[in-house]
């Protein structure tokens, strides 16, 4: 791999070579990423074709590394079908060698919106501190009312994270992300 990077850094200094190389790599990259994400979603070519309004043969064609007639419109339809965003970006040639050697299935996969860790609510964004304290009190009262014993140490109530370990909270999604002691 090191050999490829060293050789490419030298060769990409030539304008025509770099254009030929980069455009060929782009076609291969997009085609292969479509295939990889489709497989990651457990979709057949026919299922993906139905989602974006084309034929199975059409999907087969765009998953081939020799395809080059990309349409922005089709790429956006694919992004929607995969529940990801499309990113188009102009880049300097010097970043290409590292992209080439990191070309593998894992690096091409993308998580869908519903499982995107970047979109998971954080503790602070979910509940305002004042509301958190109130919810904690409600939870505590509820657990006591249903007969669950919550340990009290040194005269203090347990941290909310302890309270949320009780099954009733675990089943209630809205309380599941509360942690820390709101006292």
């Amino acid at each position: 791999m090191h050999n490829i990077v060293t050789k490419l850094r030298q060769e990409l200094r030539d304008p025509e070579y770099s254009e030929g190389y980069a455009e060929s790599f782009l076609n291969s990259f997009v085609a292969t990423q479509i295939k990889v994400i489709r497989e990651q979603r457990d979709m057949t070519q026919a299922e993906l074709a139905r989602e974006i309004g084309t034929t199975q043969a059409g999907i087969s064609r765009i998953e081939n590394v020799n395809y080059s007639s990309w349409s922005f419109r089709t790429l956006i339809k694919l992004a929607r079908a995969f529940h990801v965003r499309l990113k188009v970006s102009f880049e300097p040639y010097g970043t290409l060698p590292d992209e080439v050697v990191s070309f593998d299935r894992k690096n091409l996969e993308r998580v869908k919106r519903e499982e995107d860790p970047g979109l998971m609510p954080t503790e602070k964004s979910l509940v305002k501190p004042s509301a958190r304290s109130r919810i904690y009190e409600d939870l505590f009262a509820y657990e006591q009312s249903v007969g669950n014993v919550i340990p009290i140490t040194n005269g203090k109530r347990p941290a909310a994270s302890v309270v949320t370990n009780f099954p009733t909270y675990a089943e209630e999604g809205m309380y599941a992300t509360i942690s820390g002691d709101p006292r």
Partner: protein
């Protein structure tokens, strides 16, 4: 998983592929190298359509398809000594009007020569 790539070599141990590659235009050479590097980085199965074959009337010869200013079709074989993680470039080639030049028989012969003499290949520079 990275793959090892070799060029078929003459009796002196010099690559026969490199002179062919150097005769191409810079743009075509860039397109060719992009596909060859992809083969080295990810093999033939992840990128669909990277290698086509086995070519008709051969059992082991594949062609790399590059749509450049001319239709480049360098011919490869898997292995031939380690079939799982190496490829050998047997001859440079182009396709004109559906015909491969040179004929795939050249690649078949080069592969046979290599199988008889392991020294007839060099690691791809």
């Amino acid at each position: 998983m990275p793959y090892a790539l070799y060029d078929f070599a003459d009796e002196k141990g010099v690559s026969i592929i490199e002179p062919w590659r150097k005769r191409l235009t810079n743009r075509s050479r860039g397109q060719l190298d992009s596909k060859i590097d992809m083969l080295a980085v990810s093999g033939m199965h992840l990128p669909t359509g990277l290698l086509a074959g086995p070519i008709n009337k051969t059992k082991h010869i594949y062609k790399l398809k590059i749509y450049a200013d001319i239709m480049l079709r360098p011919m490869f074989c898997k292995g031939p000594f380690n079939m799982d993680d190496e490829f050998t470039l047997l001859t440079g080639a182009v396709e004109t009007q559906g015909k491969l030049i040179p004929d795939p028989a050249v690649a078949v012969v080069n592969r046979a020569v290599l199988l008889a003499d392991r020294k007839r290949r060099v690691i791809r520079a």
